[in-house]
């Protein structure tokens, strides 16, 4: 399986994250699965005129390739001209290259939330009119249009995340190479379900604090980050606390909120990221499928039942009370 990879309006962080995965030597893993990199802006030897040859021959169908990976948002501005990113050496806007190449690809993969939905580059006034390959935020459409299907029949596969976990990318490529990624394996936003069928909340080390609504109030506190510090782990689809990052971390493990970077529109939450918006003291963003009345009732009940150990540790930056071993009588 031959992979062509291009970067546009993003930070390159998904590539940097990808090559930092600790699932073994990446290039050997790819080679072993028969995955060949036709061109990648950070990794290939071919530069300038040599890379242009590769690009042009892929774009006009003279050279076969299977998968088009796009990293970074697609910049349609100014005024639909795409000139905020003219691919170097070509005088032609990147969005045109992407359309040409997508027409020849068996699969198109959006690597990261920028390429999937627009992402960070589409925040604020969206100065560059940035969008994703097949989504503009939560709306389908984007650069290629809602009806787009790649050669093998799938829509753009959205490996969202800001950045993506290294294994989300590697496993997407491996599943495609093994012909094991089909429509049913993608969720409503065309993300591979192998990492979006769960929530960030699942497996978070702060779960006991969550149960008792024993909440962190300031940076460094050990309590749950949902009530005050903006955590969206109960709403964000991703396995960040089941599949560790960089050998064992995650956002919530690092002591800061999940900002739901795998979701479309995460870049504009409508409130400061690390402060939980509340109405009458109750967080607005409640766990995905939990009725509000139940949440409020349970929260009140569990708060009153909080063990002193949990209550005190929640507001401390290290364990000050630990579960005592039971003593023999």
């Amino acid at each position: 399986m031959r992979v062509m990879w291009l970067q546009s309006g993003g930070c390159g962080g998904c590539t940097l994250s990808w090559i930092g995965g600790d699932g073994g030597p990446l290039f050997a893993t790819l080679a072993d699965a028969g995955i060949e990199i036709v061109w990648h802006p950070s990794l290939s030897e071919a530069s300038a005129d040599e890379s242009l040859d590769i690009l042009e021959s892929c774009a006009d169908g003279r050279r076969d390739f299977d998968v088009l990976c796009i990293e970074g948002s697609l910049l349609r501005g100014p005024h639909g001209s795409g000139r905020f990113h003219v691919l170097a050496g070509t005088g032609r806007p990147m969005i045109e290259w992407v359309k040409l190449l997508a027409a020849h690809a068996r699969h198109v993969v959006a690597v990261g939330s920028c390429a999937a939905f627009g992402g960070i580059t589409a925040a604020g006034v969206n100065p560059t009119d940035a969008c994703g390959l097949q989504y503009d935020g939560t709306n389908s459409g984007g650069l290629l249009g809602a009806a787009f299907r790649a050669g093998a029949g799938l829509p753009v596969v959205n490996v969202s995340g800001c950045p993506t976990h290294p294994d989300w990318v590697t496993e997407t490529l491996l599943s495609l190479a093994r012909d094991e990624l089909h429509e049913a394996d993608l969720d409503e936003l065309a993300r591979p379900r192998f990492y979006t069928d769960v929530l960030v909340h699942h497996g978070c080390a702060r779960n006991e604090f969550y149960e008792f609504k024993a909440s962190a109030e300031k940076n460094g506190d050990q309590g749950c980050l949902m009530e005050h510090l903006g955590c969206k782990g109960t709403q964000a689809h991703a396995d960040c606390n089941l599949r560790p990052w960089n050998g064992g971390g995650s956002c919530t493990d690092g002591g800061y909120a999940c900002i739901s970077c795998t979701e479309p529109g995460f870049e504009e939450p409508g409130h400061p990221f690390t402060v939980t918006p509340k109405v009458a003291g109750i967080p607005i963003g409640l766990p995905l499928d939990m009725p509000k009345a139940w949440f409020v009732a349970l929260a009140a009940l569990s708060k009153s039942a909080t063990p002193a150990r949990v209550r005190q540790n929640a507001k401390a930056d290290h364990v000050i009370r630990w579960p005592r071993p039971a003593r023999k009588p």
Partner: protein, 480 residues
């Protein structure tokens, strides 16, 4: 005269085009075009100031933590707070991890593969270089990527993940390290030290850091020809990479790594001698960049970013920052020069600072940093605070000046009515790859490319590629 348009330039972060005027086999003039604009400075306007910590790391996937550090510093300035000792140590550690990772990533993945090119087939070192460094397939990548991933475990430990962490805050770090975390961190650092000593240098880090002159380096290279650094030095000697790609401008560093009393590597300017740095003399010229012109170059605290795609004299999305009207070069070479490392000073005084000096300074920095990181990890005090809290005022003007792997990075923040009124960023490669300014003065790379040889029939001259990549450019930072 003939004109060469070289692009898309890969194995740099982001997209880059270089336009060369060539006569008699030499570059006569170069223009450097940053071809991507995203508009972070526009996006940040109107946001809650702490939200900068979410946005700015996403300017750049390779120096994400440095961007966080600059923002955290600007916000801390506005709040009038400083992190406690543990917070300072963690900030040093995660910045150093990124710095080291970036330097070795540049060496193994971006820079060295050019020496495996078939154009060097007749060189006696080529077979070894091709075996080690051929892009993707070379043996070195197989050694390096797992070692890099091993080092990045320290980011999982200290910062939750990398890139794009929120752990660095104005008051310190959000992740208190406990006793076992500290031990794991030390183990990760010791493991990476082994990779460096066994594979990259073939020598103890302390011995590499102690090389004090150009002659000593030459003797060291002979004794360690089998190591990856030794192989580079051999190729560099054969191709005379010392003379190649000198910019001939002053070197600048904002200073790096906080200690109790000032920065370990101090801030300053080097041009034949060390001078103090006055950041108030920084201004950005946009005469050749696609932005609405101001009547004069503006200091970043008053800077503006209004893109216009049609502008006659313009050829880049990169602004042209100048220090007191002068172009400067920034990066590891500048940092080590200003910090007074004897090897780097000797190289510059004898031969000037070209391709080889830039690469040597980077690897020297790696050899100096790792022992310092072990020391910082030892100094962590589990159980004591890692951060303090503070209040943001409704009005403030503050700068955050730090060193990223690639050089001097500055954020200038202006808060009005509790919101970001203006946010201006000057990244390392903005300095190094700036276009011409209103008096026609080229940026550092544009100068460094003049006189570079272009072989018969070469469309993307290999010497030009060495010079460009020797700066380890980060184009996504450059324009942001």
């Amino acid at each position: 005269m003939s004109r060469l348009i070289v692009g898309p330039f890969n194995r740099v972060e982001g997209d880059l085009e270089v336009i060369l005027d060539v006569t008699d086999g030499r570059v006569r003039a170069a223009r450097v075009r940053s071809s991507l604009y995203r508009g972070f400075e526009q996006i940040l306007q109107g946001k809650a100031p702490p939200d900068a910590l979410v946005f700015v790391p996403r300017i750049c996937g390779i120096c994400s933590v440095s961007q966080s550090a600059a923002a955290a510093r600007a916000l801390a300035g506005a709040m009038g707070i400083a992190p406690p000792a543990n917070g300072r140590l963690v900030a040093n550690l995660i910045q150093a991890v990124e710095n080291v990772a970036d330097h070795v990533t540049h060496f193994y993945l971006f820079f060295m593969p050019d020496f495996a090119r078939p154009c060097y087939e007749s060189q006696p070192w080529w077979r070894a270089a091709a075996g080690r460094f051929t892009a993707v397939r070379g043996a070195a990548a197989g050694d390096f990527l797992p070692a890099r991933a091993g080092l990045m475990r320290s980011m999982g430990l200290l910062a939750g993940k990398w890139p794009h962490t929120l752990t660095l805050q104005p008051g310190g770090s959000t992740h208190p390290v406990n006793a076992s975390g500290r031990l794991r961190l030390l183990r990760v650092l010791r493991e990476f030290r082994q990779f460096l000593e066994r594979v990259l240098f073939g020598d103890a880090l302390e011995a590499v850091a102690a090389i004090a002159s150009s002659d000593e380096l030459a003797r060291w290279a002979e004794r360690h020809a089998e190591s990856d650094f030794g192989l580079f030095l051999r190729a560099a000697r054969a191709l005379n990479l010392r003379a190649l790609g000198q910019a001939g401008v002053a070197f600048m560093s904002y200073g790096a790594y906080e200690q109790e009393n000032g920065r370990w590597w101090p801030a300053g300017i080097w041009s034949g001698g060390a001078r103090p740095l006055d950041p108030a003399r920084i201004a950005e010229d946009v005469s050749h960049a696609w932005y609405a012109d101001a009547t004069e170059p503006l200091p970043p605290s008053r800077g503006s970013t209004l893109p216009i795609a049609d502008k006659d004299a313009a050829y880049s999305w990169c602004k042209a920052p100048r220090l007191g009207g002068e172009a400067v070069e920034t990066g590891a070479l500048a940092r080590q020069l200003v910090a007074g490392h004897p090897l780097v000073r000797d190289m510059i005084e004898r031969e000037g600072g070209g391709v080889e000096a830039r690469v040597v300074a980077r690897l020297l920095e790696v050899a100096r940093l790792l022992p310092a990181m072990e020391h910082w990890a030892e100094a962590l005090r589990p159980g004591e605070p890692f951060s303090v809290t503070g209040e943001l005022p409704a009005e403030a003007e503050c700068a955050g000046l730090v060193e990223a792997a690639r050089g001097s990075l500055g954020h200038w923040l202006n808060i009005r009515r509790g919101r970001i009124h203006n946010y201006q960023i000057i990244a390392p490669t903005t300095w190094n790859f700036s276009p011409r300014d209103r008096v026609g003065q080229p940026g550092a790379l544009e100068r460094a490319l003049v006189d570079v040889p272009v072989g018969e029939g070469e469309k993307s001259p290999v010497a030009v590629q060495h010079v460009v990549r020797s700066f380890d450019p980060c184009m996504v930072c450059t324009v942001h």
